[in-house]
């Protein structure tokens, strides 16, 4: 059983070894979870299994059992996910954006279990999520901002306040 967004999807017809990532993307049709490496090295495919971050590209559907799968499409329904997504927008983290679904999922799981993470906690939780655009410093700032609610001061040549674009 895959619970995603607000719908539940039965996925019993799939072979049990079928990796969850492609069950989500190709069978259920939820493409927000990304295929990056396929070998659990990049973190782009991160989803939550009962709130815990897992790499869906190496997780067989058969091992999901009755646990709830939460994807990027539904993470805004959790308080932690909502705070992370908001901070992501305020800090303007994304560049190409391809890894960001996974980054948001890992970050949401982090502040869910560690409400005020240290740099070491962030390193530990986020080191499995690769960003080729190198948005790491903003990811760190956004996680802290989501955790504390206080705007993070980024080391930046820009001193003008940013205005929301959308």
């Amino acid at each position: 059983m895959i619970t995603s967004t607000s719908t539940s999807v039965r996925c019993r017809q799939r072979p049990r070894r079928h990796a969850l990532l492609w069950a989500l993307r190709d069978v259920v049709g939820l493409t927000g979870t990304k295929f990056g490496c396929g070998i659990a090295q990049c973190g782009a495919c991160t989803v939550h299994l009962d709130g815990q971050p897992v790499r869906s590209c190496v997780l067989p559907v058969g091992s999901v059992g009755k646990r709830a799968v939460t994807t990027i499409e539904a993470i805004s329904q959790t308080p932690a996910g909502q705070r992370i997504q908001q901070a992501w927008l305020e800090v303007d983290v994304v560049q190409c954006g391809y890894c960001q679904s996974g980054q948001v999922m890992s970050a949401a799981a982090l502040i869910q279990r560690t409400p005020n993470p240290s740099d070491a906690d962030i390193d530990m939780a986020m080191s499995g999520n690769v960003c080729r655009c190198c948005t790491y410093s903003r990811i760190r700032a956004a996680i802290k901002q989501a955790a504390t609610g206080k705007p993070e001061v980024l080391q930046s040549v820009v001193t003008m306040p940013a205005r929301s674009a959308s």
């Binding site: 492609w22 069950a23 190709d26 303007d92 994304v94 560049q95 040549v157």
Partner: protein, 626 residues
């Protein structure tokens, strides 16, 4: 001057060397006719784009309901060009970024070809400076027509009207009309000859650090990248290519693969095998189940050590050096250093992919590409269809790095032509995983004549302008340059060119056969700047000077570059005790910004402004993440 035929070295340096690298992919400059005004091809393009009530040019669409859609000439791959281009258009149009929707442009050289690169090509850090004037003017043309329509309706002087947030106002009579209400009338008006552009002091958007327009979709997973395209009935293919370049497929046993549920077909290509499945999982399992015999070819025994040795050998024998020494040799100690740069694999986060649906009379393509028009030409050749029968839908790119500027469509296309009439998505190439192209290895050696070691000033004596030959146009490893030469070799090295009387570069030709090399993110500067700046550091150290002070002395006649250097030095607190400590063990790897990298160069007025718009972004990124 050893410059590529037909292009003077001076021209190469003036363009920062950037323009040249991409001319091979583009069409002719005559086709690159990007214009702020209506063109013959506009009517069809607007019709295909939802037939907006008002489409004065290729970039602005205003619907009757007041919706403002902006068509982006260059593609978004993380560099925030959709935000930058939208800012240029919105600034002059009179809307805010929260009111606009950005759209991918269709492939069309006549409407979106940029003269700077000679085509509809995104690359080489040219997007803003190549479209700065034209996009502002395109916004101004639209605004002028909308204001004219309002003024005519109210029977007032257009100059007495103002525009803000998509509304035209006449203060004296307290009348207002939204863009949507004016769109129909504005569409009937003739194109204005001249339009007034805002004075920079009046800019509301340009120069402001606005938030990106593409963030929300990328944060909630709704942004569609090429790999997210879903077409009814589509199949998914994944490819395994010969592990050595030049090798070919000898035989393949596909019995086990075809027995896997969901595997639709196994396709043999000259140097690769593709498995087509109902979904990726089936295709992947099918690929794993193949028993493939390759004929590896002559490169199978080649080693990195051999490549490296050949490069070093060529450098030692001066075989690879093209840059000439002319003019007076500076006096003083000759300082030499050799830098060894590895071959690096490109890996965009998004696996390279293309979705194609070939029918008898049409070929439809979904792909995130830096060269959409070129993809159309390639697809037309593969399918034998006319170019106007090829429809391409560009997508957000999960990283570009020049990797989406290539011809991977060819590989996908060759297989998919055989696949027949089902739409299919070509997936990962298993040889290079994400990419079979690598950045070229490089063994550049810096030679600089210098003053005496104890001399107070910079070691480097500036040769007379125009007499030195800083441009080491090395033999191509990229296999794409004219006459085997690549401007990538000089790119970035021109930045501190007074400091580089003789630059030399080694490269070995035979590497071309052994590996498929291509652009690396940042193109030339990623290796050239590393070499250049490292060498300047070495010189500074020999002169016992502070590296920033040493550079400042070199840049006396280059005030804008000097200003960038000074700003960067100020922001990182250079010279004020220890540099800010890395916030975590991974931040900068314990190696804080050692010297600011100066990427700034510009000559013309428009380019200078354009550069300003993106320097902030880059500087921010550089300062924050190094």
């Amino acid at each position: 001057v050893n410059a590529p035929a037909g292009i003077s070295r001076r021209a190469a340096l003036q363009a920062g060397g950037l323009a040249l690298a991409f001319t091979w992919v583009g069409g002719s400059k005559a086709l690159a006719a990007i214009s702020p005004r209506r063109q013959p091809a506009d009517a069809a393009a607007a019709l295909a784009d939802g037939n907006p009530a008002f489409a004065p040019n290729a970039f602005v669409r205003i619907d009757a309901d007041g919706g403002v859609r902006l068509v982006m000439p260059m593609v978004e791959m993380g560099q925030a060009i959709y935000t930058g281009s939208a800012m240029l258009l919105a600034e002059e149009l009179g809307v805010e970024l929260d009111q606009v929707r950005v759209e991918h442009s269709p492939p069309n050289e006549a409407l979106y070809g940029m003269p700077l690169l000679g085509g509809q090509i995104t690359g080489g850090s040219t997007s803003t400076r190549g479209t700065y004037g034209v996009l502002r003017e395109a916004g101004a043309v639209a605004r002028t027509l909308l204001v004219s329509a309002a003024a005519a309706q109210w029977k007032v002087d257009p100059a007495s009207c103002t525009v803000a947030r998509g509304v035209v106002s006449h203060a004296a009579s307290s009348r207002q009309l939204g863009f949507g209400a004016l769109a129909g009338a504005a569409a009937q008006l003739p194109m204005p000859e001249k339009v007034a552009l805002k004075e920079p002091k009046d800019f509301k958007l340009i120069g402001q650090p606005l938030r990106r327009v593409d963030s929300p979709g990328k944060v909630n997973g709704s942004t569609q990248f090429g790999l997210d395209v879903r077409v009814p009935g589509m199949k998914v293919a994944t490819v395994k290519a010969c592990p050595t370049l030049g090798g070919v497929l000898a035989s393949v046993d596909d019995k086990a693969a075809r027995a896997i549920p969901g595997v639709v077909d196994v396709i043999r290509i000259k140097d690769a095998v593709a498995v087509v499945g109902e979904h990726f999982w089936a295709a992947k399992r099918g690929l794993d189940a193949l028993t493939i015999q390759w004929t590896p070819g002559q490169n199978s025994a080649l080693t990195t050590q051999q490549l490296r040795a050949a490069l070093t050998d060529a450098l030692a024998k001066d075989k690879a050096i093209v840059g000439k020494e002319t003019g007076k040799r500076p006096e003083g100690t000759l300082v030499q250093a050799t830098y060894d740069l590895p071959m690096l694999a490109h890996a965009t986060m998004e696996p390279l992919n293309t979705t194609v649906h070939v029918r008898a009379d049409q070929c439809e393509i979904w792909v995130g590409t830096q060269v959409p028009a070129r993809c159309v030409s390639v697809a037309a050749k593969i399918t034998g269809l006319a170019e106007d029968k090829v429809v391409l839908h560009n997508q957000y790119l999960g990283g570009g790095f020049g990797r989406q500027a290539g011809d991977r469509l060819c590989r996908a296309g060759r297989g998919l032509r055989q696949a027949g009439a089902v739409p299919a998505e070509g997936g990962v190439d298993a040889r290079g995983r994400h990419s079979p192209r690598h950045r070229a290895p490089d063994v550049p050696r810096r030679h600089l004549g210098g003053g005496r070691r104890r001399r107070a000033g910079p070691l480097v004596r500036r040769p007379h302008r125009g007499r030195h030959r800083a441009g080491p146009l090395g033999p191509s490893l990229h296999g794409q340059g004219r006459h085997g030469r690549r401007p990538d070799r000089v790119r970035g090295r021109a930045l501190l060119r007074p400091a580089e009387p003789q630059g030399r570069v080694g490269a070995a030709r035979h590497a071309r056969r052994a590996s498929n090399v291509g652009w690396w993110r940042g193109v030339g500067p990623t290796h050239n700047l590393f070499v250049m700046e490292s060498f300047i550091d070495e010189l500074a150290q020999r002169a016992r000077k502070d590296p920033v002070a040493y550079r400042r002395a070199m840049l006396k006649k280059n005030p804008r570059t000097l200003a960038v250097l000074d700003l960067a030095a100020e922001k990182i607190g250079w010279g004020k005790g220890a540099l800010p400590a890395a916030r975590g063990p991974r931040r900068g790897g314990g190696r804080p910004l050692r010297q600011p990298r100066v990427r700034h160069r510009s000559k013309s007025r428009s380019r200078r402004r354009a550069r300003c718009a993106c320097v902030a972004r880059w500087s921010r990124w550089t300062v924050a993440s190094r």
